[in-house]
Amino acid sequence: MLADALLLQLGYNATLVAIGACLLGIASGVAGTFLFLRKRALVSDAISHATLPGVGLAFVIMVAMGGEGRSLLGLLLGAGVSAAIGLLCVQWLTRRTRLGEDAAIGAVLSVFFGFGVVMLTVIQTMNAGRQAGLESFLLGSTAGMLRGDAILLAASAAAVLALVLILRRPLALAAFDPGYAEATGWSLPRIDLAMMGIVLVVTVVGLKVVGLILIVALLIVPAVTARFWTERADHVVIIAGIVGGLSGFVGAAVSATAPALPTGPIVVLVGFGIFLFSLLFSPRRGVLASVLTHLRYQRRVHVRQGLLALAQGQPIYETLTQRLLTRAGLILPDGVPTAEGQAAASKALLDETRWAIVRGDQAYALAATRYDGLTPIETVLTPDQLIEIDTKISAPEVVA
């Protein structure tokens, strides 16, 4: 069943939804990346919640003009306009008042969302037009997705990708070093406006699929996930697009396998699954990797401390140190160093003595910054420099 769904064998509507969700995932992953890198992730939450009163107002206006109020394009237009107003409110509050951006986002989000909920409630009692289905903007609904909806998603995704491609340099610069961006002649407000505009487009066209409450997840989770796998901004954008697209496609396919599974939430959960996998298993930034790195580091410290103690004829008290040294064949179980251990100990002491001289000498200031108590000094200095340093070692007995 799931295999059928993934291979687009579950009928016309399911195929349409899978393609639409995939395109939306790509667009939102790419658009959300710069929002995340610029540390503005929560602004998208304000934007999405600010769409609701626009949906309600658009419906009322369309009914007043004699229609049924069901034109999707009309509703989305309303959503876009009120989201833009919400966004301007956040910017105005942040720039012109003493409120921080977090407070401004909280205020705008709750006021607009509250107003939107009131509007929808009033509309439900109005008994005009065909209001059933407006609440699907909250959590998304793909049941009645039409070919036109998929085309709208495709066109928006293409526009978002093109815009990000064109604006990638200023967007990256503004996120990394805004002061430098301005000093080299880029207009920060205009870059931010473009970024928010792109996010706004994705939010509005994504409303029908995942709904306004969950769209923020689709914007941010792919970027956060991608960050685990690369140290380059351009790669973050690409990986985020892939993660978003994959979540959309797989999520839609999974939800198509049973009638009771809602598309939007499943898409978000699939994205979260990929995030969780990355959080745990990313080779450089993952939780597992950092635990392993820490353990390896701890062992190196213990071995080093143990060797220095041996070289100075001091006893080793810690059992972990004893165990590590025994296992490495550096000491015998009774604590007496082996020949190998003896050699390693005097090497460690020589290393420390050399480091002490390097750190006391201004001429080696740059090398001295590499001191961490573990790095062998010959990886930092040239053989010539080592010879020069050895001439300054006064205690000859350590030169084993």
């Binding site: 990256a172 610069l173 990394f176 070093d177 430098y180 000093a183 140290e231 901004a233 740059l366």
Partner: protein, 265 residues
Amino acid sequence: MNLTLVTDRDTDQAVRAASPLAVRGMTVSYGQTPAIFSVDMTLRAGAMTAIVGPNGAGKSTLLKAALGVITPLAGSVTVFGGTMADMRDRIAYVPQRASVDWDFPVRVIDVVMMGMYRQLGLLGRVRGRHRALARDCLDRVGMADFAHRQIGQLSGGQQQRVFLARALAQEADIYVLDEPFAGVDAATEKAIVAVLQGLRDAGKTVLAVHHDLATVPDYFDDVVLLNTQVVAAGPVADTFTEDNLNAAYGGRLTTARADPESVAG
């Protein structure tokens, strides 16, 4: 550096046309009290100028206003006699290190490439000569071996060298630096000074906020003593005097002298 009050408009016009960067009557305020007040500053072409003053004197503010990053209440800037908008390409900038997101996913070589973004524009293709220039700039600051490291993995001094390399990639005529020596190791300080003096010897103009009074005479040709207003400005030999320093630092000079860190800002 021009200390004499220029009253004649035409004479001042000529002075500004000859100066790489000239600031007139600059006042910036973040609230109700000005951070800098009515500052005049005229850089000498081919000279290294230091801006010196106590913590909170408005040094960074003066740089940012001169570069057009913040809008002043009053005042104007000319670059080689022209407007900042027309002459922007001729100025390179090294911001204070703290202003950057160090966890940003960007490699050293990508940071240097940012120095060429303005020249490349939105769609210009990165070509071989751009990459070669980026590598050359890294080489000049002794960071060629670090090109593919993530920026956050470097030490403070190494990061500062990369930012200087990015400024070099702008191939500008004026180099503006905010505390380039703050929090860097002695070797980096030496390397940066050598690069800056090389620029000066090639006829470029350098303006740097500097926090270590002891090295001002060694490194710089001209000095601007700032404490909200300009206290004194001119060649180091005439201007960097005990009296002027006392006037700029008020009673804090003895502590400032004993502990240069305490005036860093």
